[in-house]
């Protein structure tokens, strides 16, 4: 469980990344959310066999990571942690669609494999873009931006609570795991007889703690609405940011840029 805490739920570190001072950190969170939303819609709307056409889209998450001063390895490791979902989503594609779609020399690649690769690439693009955006804006600001962009309040509040309670759950899990280890003398996996009461205990403790946190919030006037000091206003640079990237996404959507470049270099007709 401590591995889970350190590797998969180190969201606290992500929050510290939002304290950066790069030009991207100065962007209004709504601009980042809107641009990322347009990015996701464009990426998802591409043809199911698209692989080369997806390549230019890597420019966006890479730009966020590089210009936002984010550790690329950290963001990719977070994406990898949830990649099992994408691996499962397209796993039967190679079996269901066996018709050769493209020849690479003597090697025929079926449509199933192409669509599977496409699913994985789309997953990588969208997840790294969202993670980078949240790391730059900070989760609370991200939620506030969602709200101002018209996302329903119950959904945004649920997101905020989920985020808060992930910390609670993992902190308690860590303590329980430490206590178990301190009294375990045999290495190896936990037995079910230990695991089940431990999980039950964790759940009860988390309920208890969640109740205390909620009380503390109520004591300071929490009424279901998260308010924060507005850090920035939407400026011309923010509008330019959204429009510029949207234009790039639409261009990359309309024209298969790598294919066009290939044809140009090879002197063939597209």
């Amino acid at each position: 469980m401590s591995t889970i805490v350190s590797k998969y739920f180190d969201i606290g570190y992500m929050e510290s990344l939002a304290q950066g001072t790069s030009a991207l950190h100065q962007r209004d969170a709504r601009a980042l959310v809107l641009t990322t939303f347009i990015f996701i819609v464009t990426v998802v709307s591409l043809d199911k066999y698209s692989v080369s056409a997806l390549m230019p889209f890597f420019f966006y998450p890479m730009s966020l990571m590089v210009w936002g001063g984010l550790p690329v390895g950290y963001v990719l490791s977070k994406a990898a942690a949830v990649s099992v979902v994408a691996l499962m989503v397209g796993i039967f594609n190679p079996l269901l669609d066996r018709q050769v779609f493209v020849w690479v020399g003597p090697l025929g690649i079926s449509g199933g494999w192409m669509s599977y690769i496409s699913v994985l690439l789309r997953f990588l693009l969208t997840v790294t873009a969202v993670l980078s955006m949240v790391a730059i804006a900070g989760f609370a600001v991200f939620c506030q931006a969602l709200r101002t962009l018209g996302v329903p309040k119950p959904f945004v509040v649920q997101l905020m609570f989920l985020y808060r309670y992930v910390f609670v759950l993992t902190e308690d899990a860590l303590r329980i795991e430490r206590a178990r280890k301190a009294r375990s003398f045999q290495p190896g996996a936990m037995r079910y007889s230990t695991y089940i009461p431990l999980l039950g205990h964790l759940l009860l403790r988390t309920f208890d703690r969640a109740e205390r946190i909620y009380r503390a919030m109520r004591c300071r006037g929490f009424d279901g609405k998260f308010r924060r000091l507005q850090r920035s206003r939407c400026t011309g640079a923010d509008v330019l940011f959204v429009v510029g990237w949207a234009a790039f996404f639409l261009a990359a959507r309309a024209y298969n840029i790598p294919a066009q470049l290939g044809h140009l270099i090879m002197g063939t007709k597209g």
Binding site: I213, R218, C219, G221, R228
Partner: protein
């Protein structure tokens, strides 16, 4: 609030599992008083504090904060008057940065941006945590967390400060700083604690709870000399009053 009076009148409360936590608790605390609530574990100290801040409502009897009876209809007025610092600061701090956390209550009060920024900065300055303003709360030491939790409450300018075990899990230096900080406040203070030395330092009056009832209410120094009372409440005479272990003077 006109007189900053805190009054409990025969308050009864039982938790949903049937545990009778308060059984006819009565007291009256006036403006500017510093009062320690002491007693064994499960005596009802924290339950009293939760009633004062409107987190729980009395099943019988009544709690009044100034002119407001503590009830659902008055809850906002009560919470503006009473600032509660919880036992575990981690329960209280949840925003991404220290400054956001201190500003949280102020924003909920509907104050403007400039006022919020000024009050939050002033509160952090008061507790000596101005340098922590951009730090994420979960990365602070226990002492720093406690200071920030107090700043978060102090920023809201409450009339009454209610603190649940404020010195718990602090190292001696942080505990001493906390005591000096609390001493400097002119608020009415109600402090639930097992730390009788701190109670002796901060509170001129002490209320002793035992099994949900007030069994003593009087001057702190006088009550802490009563060994029978302390023993009955599973407490121990503060070190300062214990005297020399050899000659007893």
């Amino acid at each position: 609030m006109s007189h900053h009076l805190v009054e409990a009148d025969s308050v009864h409360y039982a938790y949903p599992d049937g545990t009778k936590s308060l059984q006819g608790v009565s007291f009256r605390i006036t403006h500017g008083e510093s009062v320690a609530l002491v007693g064994e574990n499960g005596a009802g100290k924290s339950t009293v504090l939760l009633h004062l801040s409107g987190c729980l409502f009395a099943a019988q009897g009544q709690i009044r904060i100034g002119e407001y009876p503590v009830c659902a209809a008055n809850i906002n007025a009560v919470r503006r008057s009473v600032g509660m610092v919880f036992q575990n600061s981690d329960d209280q701090l949840f925003m991404p940065t220290v400054f956001d956390d201190v500003a949280f209550g102020l924003l909920n009060m509907g104050l403007g941006k400039e006022v919020v920024e000024a009050k939050a900065a002033a509160a952090l300055e008061t507790v000596g945590a101005a340098h922590l303003r951009q730090r994420p709360p979960y990365r602070l030491s226990q002492g720093e967390k406690r200071a920030v939790a107090i700043a978060a409450v102090l920023a809201m300018s409450p009339d009454v400060l209610v603190l649940d075990e404020p010195s718990a899990s602090l190292d001696p230096a942080a505990r001493r700083r906390l005591i000096e900080l609390l001493k400097s406040f002119q608020h009415t203070k109600i402090i639930a604690t097992h730390d009788l030395d701190m109670a002796l330092d901060l509170c001129s009056r002490t209320i002793v709870l035992h099994k949900g009832q007030v069994i003593a209410d009087g001057r702190t120094e006088q009550l802490f000399q009563d060994e029978e009372l302390l023993q009955r409440s599973c407490l121990e005479k503060p070190l300062r009053l214990q005297g020399c272990p050899v000659c007893g003077k």
